[in-house]
């Protein structure tokens, strides 16, 4: 039994029994962990607000020899990010970011970059609030870190360069498709310029969220493309997605 200490972002919690709580949290060096917090709901002394979703904390835990639940000992609040609670769309987008991270990466799959990306995303929403750009930036970078990034700039089937104008896209077929490979099967159409924009986004630093402004067309096409790619790789639908779509401001 070794006491571990690490920065952590709380992704989710579920109540267990009358007083206990199971908490899913993301760390830079230990990936995603699930911990058991005894009496967390009854006694606010030990954990306070530090086990609430979206909180960034200094987590103290002990690994157990059996089972995948670690035992939570202490959590000190590092950052509350009160700005995430400014309005419903910001709060829902922040929650969506946490669920996306939880579902896209398995226990050991999330490395330090995933942590830094989610941290920067939450910081950005905390200060700037909701934006479609923030959502797209998070999604495209998470996909890229998960290794599921579809081919964008060349045909995913035959590798030939893509023509200007409308291009077909299918996450099921691993990305963009030239007219011949598509042969009329694919419903999603994306402008080459949008694909180019996504290519450039992937070259920017992972933690940069400010200063991006996409055209309405790029936002719409990009969202359709990312929805398709994410649906293809998530092992379950995201519960927060329906509410995010519902509470997001109209385009």
């Amino acid at each position: 039994m070794k006491l571990e200490v690490s920065s952590a972002i709380i992704l989710h919690h579920t109540d267990y029994g009358e007083a206990d709580r199971i908490v899913t949290f993301l760390t830079p060096d230990h990936g995603r962990l699930k911990g058991f917090a005894r009496a967390a709901r009854k006694s606010r002394k030990r954990f306070g607000a530090a086990l609430e979703p979206l909180a960034e904390v200094q987590m103290h835990w002990v690994s157990r020899s059996s089972g995948d639940l670690v035992s939570l000992r202490d959590a000190d609040l590092v950052k509350l990010r009160a700005g995430l609670r400014r309005d419903l769309e910001t709060l829902t987008l922040a929650g969506y970011g946490c669920e996306l991270t939880e579902v896209l990466f398995d226990d050991s799959g999330a490395g330090v970059e995933v942590f830094q990306l989610l941290q920067a995303f939450l910081d950005h929403l905390d200060s700037e609030g909701f934006s479609v750009e923030a959502r797209l930036l998070l999604e495209i970078r998470m996909l890229s870190l998960s290794g599921y990034m579809p081919h964008l700039q060349h045909c995913a089937d035959c590798s030939s360069p893509l023509p200007a104008g409308q291009v077909s896209f299918s996450a099921f077929h691993n990305g963009s498709l030239c007219a011949e490979c598509d042969a009329g099967r694919v419903a999603i159409k994306v402008d080459r310029m949008t694909l180019g924009t996504f290519g450039r986004i992937l070259e920017t630093p992972l933690t940069r969220f400010s200063g991006f402004k996409l055209s309405p067309q790029s936002r719409q096409e990009g969202q359709a493309l990312l929805n398709d790619a994410l649906r293809c790789h998530l092992h379950r639908p995201l519960k927060s997605l329906e509410m995010l779509d519902r509470f997001s401001p109209e385009e």
Binding site: E18, A49, P53, L80, A82, L88, L91, G95, M243, L244
Partner: protein, 199 residues
């Protein structure tokens, strides 16, 4: 070992379903009940059945009640213009214990939770809006919990209610009475500073 006494085993199994009660405590309780006079056992059984048979949710505020509408909704001494919205009946009871509120109540029976897929349809929000549209309420005090879910619910309700020209307020964030600042968690201190007021 309990298999040889089926009725005892059955009671232990039922008691162990209670929150916070494990097999060990359930066995202890069962032994206690075994030693009680028969009248005591009957009183307990009847109390449980009465609770099930006689209580329901008030059709106006959705608090637990034996008469419909509930006494809180019928009390002429309460202020029709002020409505307090809570997540659960337990929260209503907590506010009643404080004797600080003299308006009416509305119980949502839950909170919005984007991460658990709990949306507005699963809460008693439509009946709340119907009540407000009847016109006598001038202020809605949102007393949902101070959690992410309670906060999301408050934001959602404010968005629905404010356009109706009704004042929306939220319980103040505060330092617990009798506590020393040194021992209060950062989140509470943070909110208390934000919510400071003139004295």
């Amino acid at each position: 070992m309990l298999d040889s006494i089926p009725s005892f085993a059955r009671l232990v199994a039922e008691l162990a379903k209670f929150p916070g009660i494990g097999n060990k405590t359930a066995t202890r309780l069962a032994f206690f009940l075994l030693r009680q006079p028969k009248a005591q056992a009957e009183a307990l059984a009847t109390a449980i059945l009465d609770l099930q048979n006689n209580t329901r949710f008030c059709s106006v505020c959705f608090h637990i009640t034996e008469q419909n509408p509930c006494p809180l909704c019928c009390d002429p001494g309460r202020d029709e213009a002020l409505l307090c919205v809570v997540e659960e009946p337990q929260a209503l009871l907590a506010i009643e214990r404080s004797r600080s509120f003299k308006g009416r109540y509305h119980v949502l029976h839950g909170a919005l939770s984007p991460l658990d897929g709990i949306g507005p349809e699963e809460l008693k929000i439509d009946p709340l809006i119907d009540r407000l549209d009847k016109g006598s309420v001038q202020e809605v005090l949102i007393a949902t919990n101070f959690t992410v879910e309670g906060g999301a619910t408050a934001l959602y309700l404010a968005k629905l209610i404010q356009p109706r020209g009704i004042r929306v307020t939220r319980l103040a964030y505060g330092i617990p009475m009798g506590s020393e600042l040194e021992y209060v968690d950062e989140a509470t201190v943070n909110r208390a500073v934000e919510g400071r007021r003139d004295i």
